[in-house]
Symmetry: C2
Subunit: 351 residues, 2 copies
């Protein structure tokens, strides 16, 4: 036993590589980082040794010395009313693009609260943060401001100064839906929005969509009602039946809630209203989902991939101390399916 040595980790270290290649440790480091010129000969010799020994730099040591962990945090919502598949799509998009920038992703849930963010950021476990599902008046915003680490929000709080935010332009999305219906001659439409709880906590995308719908309706002389919409079949049924009882002339529906689409279809069928003959339906939902319903939905997809990618790019820019725009809103794109058609002459004799 040689004194107080601990057991070696087993993994080869940069010193092993240096020894094997017959160069200094720092040279190996520079080969890896490219921060100084290295002759082609040395370079290839070092790389060969690295491959041969199966060397992987120790993340902790690297983080300690360089003050960069090459890890970003992804703060996901765990709340009710979130659109699970969309969130999942975000997450994978974020992981994939982060890897493309040579970063890994640490998964946080908001339920550890501000303390969690603080712990992570202060402990230098991550270099920057990506925060999803931001509310209009989000308590985490001031925290992010003085966390001392770059961050990007997915979503748009009421006050975005000094922050970096990315999102779909939900207001435009709402407008686009209504404009599509208006063009088809619909004069009375309704928005089946997010669950009431989502509006209550002031989640941006729900409010902005509603605002867009109402604004576009007003502009085009369309009568519009907006109501929240829960995700379970029974409740959807009740709401939709009630809606048509009150407003029998409605011929256009904008559905914001992927989970509600199925029940809405079923309810319309039960009410004897066919899609798109009697009622046209536009949904805000993933393309993949829309393609699998019958009839195929006319929809405005939430481009989770793009948003995720964009968010990562912006965060990387900030990590590199480059300036980043405060607000990036991606333009919505409406894809016409088979669930919308020209408005029929109003037939008030419908049941």
């Amino acid at each position: 036993m040689s004194g107080r040595g601990r057991v070696p980790s087993g993994q080869p270290t940069i010193a092993d590589v240096a020894r094997h290649a017959g160069v200094a440790v720092s040279t190996v480091s520079y080969v890896l980082s490219g921060k100084r010129a290295i002759s082609e000969m040395t370079r290839s010799r070092v790389l060969a040794s690295i491959r041969l020994l199966g060397y992987h730099p120790n993340a902790g040591a690297r983080a300690l010395a360089s003050r960069r962990a090459n890890v970003i945090a992804l703060v996901l919502p765990l709340r009710s009313g979130i659109q699970v598949p969309v969130v999942m799509q975000f997450a994978t998009a974020v992981v994939t693009s982060a890897r493309r920038h040579d970063h890994d992703v640490l998964l946080l849930t908001s339920d550890e609260g501000p303390a969690g963010l603080h712990r992570i950021a202060a402990g230098a476990l991550v270099d920057g943060l990506l925060v999803m599902d931001v509310e209009l008046h989000d308590g985490r915003v001031p925290l992010l401001r003085d966390l001392g680490r770059p961050s990007v929000l997915i979503g748009l709080p009421a006050e975005s100064r000094g922050l970096t935010c990315v999102d779909l332009d939900f207001e435009r999305a709402g407008q686009v839906c209504v404009e599509h219906l208006a063009t088809l001659g619909h004069r009375r439409v309704a928005l089946l929005g997010a669950p009431a709880a989502v509006y209550d906590r002031g989640t941006g995308f729900a409010h902005r969509t509603r605002a867009g719908v109402l604004a576009a309706a007003a502009r085009h002389g369309v009568h519009a009602v907006a109501l929240p919409c829960e995700e379970n079949a029974a409740e959807v049924h009740r709401r939709v039946a009630d809606l048509f009882a009150r407003h029998p002339g409605i011929t256009g529906l904008v559905v914001q809630n992927e989970a509600a689409v199925g029940p809405v279809q079923a309810t319309l069928a039960a009410l004897g209203r066919r899609i798109p003959r009697d009622v046209s339906v536009v949904a805000v939902c993933p393309d993949q989902f829309a393609e699998h319903t019958s009839p195929r939905l006319t929809r405005v997809p939430v481009p989770a991939d793009q948003i995720g990618q964009q968010a990562v790019s912006l965060l990387m820019r900030k990590l590199g101390d480059e300036p980043a725009p405060e607000v990036t809103l991606l333009p919505p794109r409406l894809t016409v399916g088979d669930s919308t058609a020209a408005a029929a002459t109003v037939d008030t004799s419908l049941p």
Copy 2:
């Protein structure tokens, strides 16, 4: 300017705490880790300084010195046919319980492949791995074996020796569903399983459920057919209609696919078969989902929370060098809803 010093990070270090509390650095460390006895007086003085300075240990330094990153990797599937909400539930359960063990979670997607796992593990970014959606003959299994880091699989590969696996006992789940139907007097049942692609790649849970269904059926003298089931409405409709055309006597349905439940209900309605009067339906799906359908489903939930928690516990045990069982199968629990009832006298005059 004092020579070659770099800019200090801004965060207080353990040395700052030690100085402030008037003790040695090592004493602070021992207060934090509890690995040596510290007098109550010193202890509280140190803790006060920590709080006052807002000290958070640097994760990199800690990882480097202790050879433990206090981070585990969660390897999520990104494939088609996965049950997104269930995966999400897993993920959150894992994050939450990991935090309870003072660990964070690094999110990996399998699409970086084995190289990704290797990079992470060799670089000591994580102490252990949690791998989801394991296939019967999963290519990652041999890799995990010689990765040199503890791992726990969620799912059950064909050969589980030397591994640690957690899952719902899907075989029993299948049995329980059939037994429930058999007890109610059903004599012809069908399993609408996972999408064909899921069987093709040999995903354990799908195969095991099918085996359980068929075995229980045989044992109870029930006639059973099992068929894969895609997730889009049109396809479901085709399959189900075809099924009843071929086997008009079927009165019991086991549906394994949350996404298929809605379309199945719609199809049955379209075929003029009422639930549960004409057809009883048992689903393998989350409780929350089952509660929101009408009628409320009889179901065997996948206890994603429990599985996730259990997986983390096992991984922690392995990280502490304690032995862990190779296979942990959680017993399924059937909850009776309103979608199953006693089999009606066979009425072959049905359309």
